[in-house]
């Protein structure tokens, strides 16, 4: 059984396990500091994001060349086009918020990696990444940077809300509405509903395949959610930076297309203007999961049909909790949980009323989570793996932001071209399908291992990249900064790098072979040894143990 009782004490190794899974790792020094606190309050604060000083991070995010897309050229013949001053690499990120529409996929990936690396509220980024995989929405169909980033921001803000509120927010999210065809779900009159979203919201987002519903429930829910679309203000219509002849909304708001007035938003999702929305919403009642719902009238501030959607958690609470338990266990704890473990976590989720904050606190404080059997038992996804290594090897925010130019990884170049998250197996913001990415050992195949080797080289071996006539380090690193105390032996080098990179236990024969090959003769902490330390870091990162966390 999964013992969900909270631990009462923890070690530095426990803290590091927690931080790898619930964030993107902690340095040995930071882990030691946290280990000095009682685990209960410390984990509460970690999950709630309290006791943090985000000022430096927010300042860096707002000013430190987190700015504009160099590829956008002014197009004075297209109304709405904006002349954007180019900012040179290595850090040409874009802003979010009102200017989020300026991003390309690569810059959106880059700025998100930057946030994962530097956000002091690491758990917020960890949960956003988790929900992005679960509610996987793909850039290649949405084709709108602003709406994709808006959805990701929803995962940050509602990632610890009640699950039904998150589920409704995602169901009303404009990017999702485009992705799974809610905008084309027309069930008015005798029209046949488009059941794409209704199927996936149960199969992929709340219950799991064939877990408590049937085909009739799908068609009925499709009717309940028909006409769920969005509108946007005229002022939010922007020129596509990649294609100035096309325009798209830089923001949008959920709206049920039921023939009612839509002012002050004057644009429909497909760009048309009208003062009333088309009528695409079914009328009358639907029979869904054994209950009947009036989807025509609204009560309690719910949108038309929202009553049916919300009933998933009441009519099929056990199924939904089981679904969530599977996903949470596989991401945070272990992929080889027992049926009893699953039932225990499912019961806990139901008892917590699907309050995600409470659920995550219970799970991540539990003896079950800290069980040694679950340590290094998961293969880590490539984005998390890369960000965690960058957090360990690259300068932390104060040093990075005060350097000239700022010593941030050139995420824009990392996410571009050949050294990509894509080939490593996680094309952030652009999953192939709505099922996202399978986790654990599904991250590992011959191609993804090839590209992990490449990323390991970029992280550890000081790879540079030329761009626009200048050369930049992909990951700015200083070997001496990895070693607060100068190592006296090869074993010291290994011990420190292991403490930083935190691979699964390495076979002793392997590390002995590595050290003998790298330092065949007397050891001195000189430039040559520092170069060897990079090579040792590379070996740790691309070894099998280095893929686990």
């Amino acid at each position: 059984m999964a013992v969900l009782t909270a631990i009462s004490a923890w070690t530095v190794a426990d803290v590091q396990h927690f931080a790898r899974r619930a964030g993107f790792g902690l340095t040995p020094e930071d882990a030691a500091t946290l280990a000095g606190q009682a685990p209960g309050p410390a984990i509460d604060a970690w999950i709630d994001g309290t006791a943090l000083d985000p000022a430096a991070y927010q300042a860096a995010a707002a000013t430190a060349d987190v700015v504009l897309e160099p590829q956008i050229s002014a197009n004075t013949t297209v109304a709405g086009s904006v002349d954007v001053p180019a900012v040179q690499p290595p850090h040409p990120f874009l802003v979010e918020g009102a200017d989020a529409w300026r991003n390309s996929l690569n810059t959106a990936q880059a700025l998100t990696a930057w946030r994962m690396q530097f956000n002091p509220y690491a758990f917020q980024e960890r949960m956003a990444l988790f929900w992005h995989n679960l509610f996987a929405t793909g850039w290649h169909k949405v084709n709108n940077a602003a709406l994709m980033l808006k959805q990701y921001q929803t995962f940050r803000t509602l990632g610890l809300a009640r699950f039904d509120d998150l589920l409704v927010a995602v169901s009303q999210d404009p990017a999702m509405a485009l992705w799974l065809d809610s905008v084309l779900n027309n069930a008015a009159g005798t029209k046949v509903a488009n059941e794409n979203y209704a199927r996936e919201v149960m199969e992929l987002y709340s219950l799991g395949a064939d877990n408590g519903y049937n085909q009739t429930d799908i068609t009925q829910l499709a009717r309940a959610l028909s006409g769920w679309s969005f509108t946007y203000a005229e002022a939010d219509l922007k020129v596509n930076p990649a294609n100035p002849s096309s325009k798209y909304p830089a923001d949008a708001r959920f709206r049920v297309y039921d023939g009612s007035a839509i002012a002050p938003d004057t644009r429909l999702w497909y760009g048309g203007t009208a003062t009333t929305s088309p009528n695409m919403h079914a009328t009358g009642t639907v029979s869904y999961l054994g209950q009947t719902f009036d989807v025509t009238t609204t009560t309690g501030g719910l949108a038309k049909g929202e009553n049916a959607l919300r009933s998933i958690l009441t009519s099929r609470g056990a199924n939904c909790a089981q679904f969530l338990a599977r996903r949470l266990l596989t991401h945070f704890v272990t992929a080889t949980y027992s049926a009893t473990d699953l039932a225990d976590v499912q019961a806990m989720i139901q008892a917590a009323g699907f309050d995600l904050r409470a659920v995550l606190k219970t799970l991540l404080k539990s003896q079950y989570f800290f069980d040694p059997a679950n340590r290094f038992a998961l293969a880590e996804g490539p984005v998390s793996w890369t960000v965690r290594a960058a957090r360990m090897l690259c300068p932390p925010l104060p040093a990075a932001s005060s350097a000239t130019p700022p010593a941030y990884p050139a995420w824009r170049l990392v996410t571009n071209a050949a050294t990509t998250f894509d080939q490593a197996g996680m094309k952030l913001f652009d999953p192939t399908g709505p099922n996202g990415w399978k986790e654990h050992t599904a991250w590992l195949n011959s191609n993804t291992m090839r590209y992990r080797g490449r990323l390991a080289a970029a992280l550890a071996l000081a790879e540079t990249r030329s761009f626009s006539g200048a050369t930049y380090p992909l990951f700015p690193t200083t070997v001496t900064a990895w070693f607060p105390t100068a190592p006296a032996t090869p074993q010291d080098v290994l011990a420190r790098l292991t403490a930083l990179l935190q691979p699964a236990p390495l076979p002793a024969a392997v590390t002995a072979e590595w050290l003998a090959a790298l330092w065949p003769s007397a050891f001195a902490w000189d430039a040559a040894s520092q170069a060897k330390a990079r090579e040792l870091a590379f070996l740790i990162l691309c070894s099998p143990a280095g893929q686990l966390y």
Binding site: N196, N374, F376, A377, M449, L461, P505, A531
Partner: protein, 447 residues
């Protein structure tokens, strides 16, 4: 919504484009138009190329009914999406072939396409992901490894044959997972010699030390019980790449010899068929086929390749998306077939050695929704090759006899296709095939 009139207007120079296709493809080998040719014998070194039509193909728009009772039902339930008879080549037996399925009419006329209509399983699942697993596993209940993975477990040399099964997709599909063997994933033609793929710019110092250190870690067993299983999974994946990149089949610099295709493929400049709106077709599948052609020409010892074309989940916008997808799929297959004729190998021309097997996880609902079709059941598979006896196989589903959800009932068990391929193309003994599939399924007559 694209109407027939729009379609004609979009094509514009339709006569030129469609006629031009054979002009570009027909100058090589056995491609092009012509009368039916008898199939050749199954080659001694057969190659299987899987094409995954990913997303659930609305094959009723590919091979629509064009006569009999099915036609009226089809026209009623496909009030807006039906394919008019004027846009079909008659295949006989009340079945038409959509002319948007570029090049396939020519391959059919040569007798090189076996169409298996109504293929499916007794308990179909309308989930993409469950159905993808079932098709991959060759099972009707999700469990176990892939049917081609099991084939590899049985047929591949356990300590060699690292390039015998290969996917040109970046993922490892479940169809290719075995208990002891997995297929290698190679998505490009270069960088397969150590350490060329590590750094894009500067030389790697101590490359030999790093390579040996990496190999040592891959060969080791994880010392920690908690992480041992995951360690071995990472080591197996890494070893597969390590062995592949060290393979002498890759030439100097770790790159396959460059190769210029003998024909134009979809996406190439000058390819005569476009999307409905006149823009170029996707090169997604073309680039996979070109890489495979390059690999065969380079002499890679690969017996099974896997490719994928996604985007077939046409819940909406089907009138535009599905024709474009058909043009890409058909045009890519036709170009690949023609291109292979120009590749000579010690075991015969590549065109003689390759058979393409295309499948999708399900067909789509007969009744259309307001702009597309939702998930359905029975599907279409087809095989293309010089050894294939072309024609219609399986039965066409009876559209008057749908299941309770309005979906077609399958007429041919998908494992009959797999069984036919395993013993008549991949050379497995009948008993081995039956063991791999867990039971004996009737063989189809196209091989």
């Amino acid at each position: 919504m694209t109407t027939r009139r729009d379609f004609l207007q979009t094509l514009g120079a339709a006569g030129a484009t469609l006629a031009g296709l054979s002009a570009c493809g027909g100058g090589h080998g056995n491609g092009g138009t012509g009368s039916t040719q008898p199939p050749i014998a199954v080659p001694t070194s057969p190659i299987l190329v899987i094409v995954n039509i990913d997303g659930g193909n609305d094959w009723l728009s590919m091979l629509p009914p064009n006569a009999g009772a099915n036609l009226g039902i089809y026209q009623t339930k496909r009030a807006t999406l039906q394919i008019p008879g004027t846009q079909q080549t008659d295949l006989g037996s009340g079945v038409g072939l959509n002319t948007d399925f570029t090049g396939m009419d020519q391959l059919h006329a040569l007798g090189r396409v076996a169409w298996i209509t109504g293929i499916g399983m007794p308990n179909p699942n309308l989930s993409h992901f469950t159905s993808i697993d079932l098709w991959g596993q060759g099972a009707t209940v999700p469990a176990g490894n892939g049917w081609l993975g099991r084939f590899a477990d049985t047929a591949f040399n356990p300590t060699g044959d690292v390039l015998r099964g290969l996917t040109v997709t970046a993922d490892l599909p479940i169809m290719l997972k075995g208990a002891t063997r997995s297929y290698v994933s190679i998505t490009g033609s270069g960088g397969y010699v150590y350490p060329a793929y590590l750094l894009s710019s500067s030389p790697v110092a101590d490359a030999a030390t790093l390579e040996q250190g990496w190999a040592a870690a891959l060969a080791a067993t994880g010392p920690d019980p908690a992480s041992a299983a995951a360690y071995q999974a990472a080591a197996a994946a890494g070893t597969l790449f390590y062995d592949a990149q060290n393979n002498p089949a890759f030439g100097a610099g770790g790159s396959l010899p460059s190769r210029t295709p003998a024909v134009l493929y979809p996406g190439d400049k000058g390819y005569p068929v476009t999307r409905l709106n006149g823009s170029a077709l996707s090169s997604t599948l073309s680039s996979q086929f070109k890489l495979i052609a390059q690999m065969i020409a380079a002499g890679l010892p690969t017996q099974v390749f896997f490719t994928r074309l996604s985007g077939w989940d046409t819940h909406s916008n089907q009138a535009t998306d599905h024709p474009n997808l058909q043009r890409t799929l058909g045009g890519s297959i036709k170009a690949f077939y023609d291109d292979l004729a120009s590749i000579t190998t010690p075991s015969g021309t590549a065109q003689d050695r390759v058979m393409i097997l295309a499948y999708s996880e399900f067909g789509r609902r007969v009744q259309e929704n307001s702009s597309g079709t939702d998930h359905g059941t029975a599907g279409l598979s087809f095989c293309v090759g010089r050894a294939v006896k072309g024609g219609l196989y399986g039965g066409y589903p009876d559209l008057a006899n749908l299941d309770a959800n309005g979906n077609m009932k399958f007429t041919t068990d998908f494992r009959s296709l797999y069984a036919t391929v395993l013993d008549r193309w991949l050379g497995q003994a009948t008993s081995t095939t039956d063991t791999l599939l867990g039971a004996s399924y009737p063989r189809l007559g196209f091989l």
